[in-house]
């Protein structure tokens, strides 16, 4: 398993080769990409902060949980930190499995869980301001 938090450009080729196995006929690879709009605002760029030592541990735990729930072969996760421009890749999640159904479902579940649990935060710099995005939780000062 490969779990990385890095300021460098992500490497889809390396992520896929990490999960490619002779007994796995299907690989699902997810790209999270910086989108030019969010909640009706025009996004200029994002800044990702992270707690890297904990983030990789949480990635490992979630991957273990998903591996137990689905019949999958291997997983790999890379998350980028720092300033990212619109169109750049912030997240890569790869899952290999014998069959496509499990690969798709496990990859989707893995991404959902990562977004809820991994201590990585994004600040949206939009036209006219900036804000740390803290999910749907209500927060003072927002």
């Amino acid at each position: 398993m490969l779990f990385e938090v890095t300021a460098d450009e992500l490497d889809p080729g390396r992520v896929v080769e990490h999960v490619r196995r002779d007994d796995a006929g299907a690989i699902a690879l997810f790209y999270g990409v910086v989108r030019d709009h969010n909640r009706g605002r025009k996004v200029m760029h994002l800044e990702y902060d992270a707690y890297p030592e904990m983030a990789t541990k949480v990635m490992q735990r979630i991957a273990d949980e998903v591996k137990e729930r689905f019949n999958i072969a291997e997983t790999a996760i890379q998350h980028r930190t720092g300033r990212l421009e619109v169109g750049e890749t912030s997240l890569l999640v790869a899952v290999s499995s014998a069959h496509r159904k499990e690969a798709f479902e496990a990859c989707h579940a893995l991404v959902d869980r990562l977004k809820e649990e991994v201590p990585i935060w994004k600040k949206e710099v939009f036209e006219g301001g900036e804000e740390w995005i803290e999910g749907d939780a209500s927060a003072p000062g927002t």
């Binding site: 902060d49 707690y51 991404v111 977004k115 809820e116 740390w132 803290e134 749907d136 927060a139 003072p140």
Partner: protein, 86 residues
Amino acid sequence: MSTANVRLFARLADLAGTREAEVELGEGLTASGVFDILVQRYPSLTGFETIVRFAVNSEYVPASHPVRPGDEVALIPPVSGGSRAL
């Protein structure tokens, strides 16, 4: 005097103006007790105890978790998750 190291991230780091702090450990201090000490030091953190999660040595813990000398306490604001993210 025994201490613990505290790490702050994202909005909490911006509000406090620092990403790290050292806290002296009184008797029976818990994770939320550490947060209370930080609020006194950095009043702009006031009100965030309702949304922050705590980690000790890189594992999520309840607010009542005891803090030992040498522990690394992290204040974890909500992550971006949820259906609107990405």
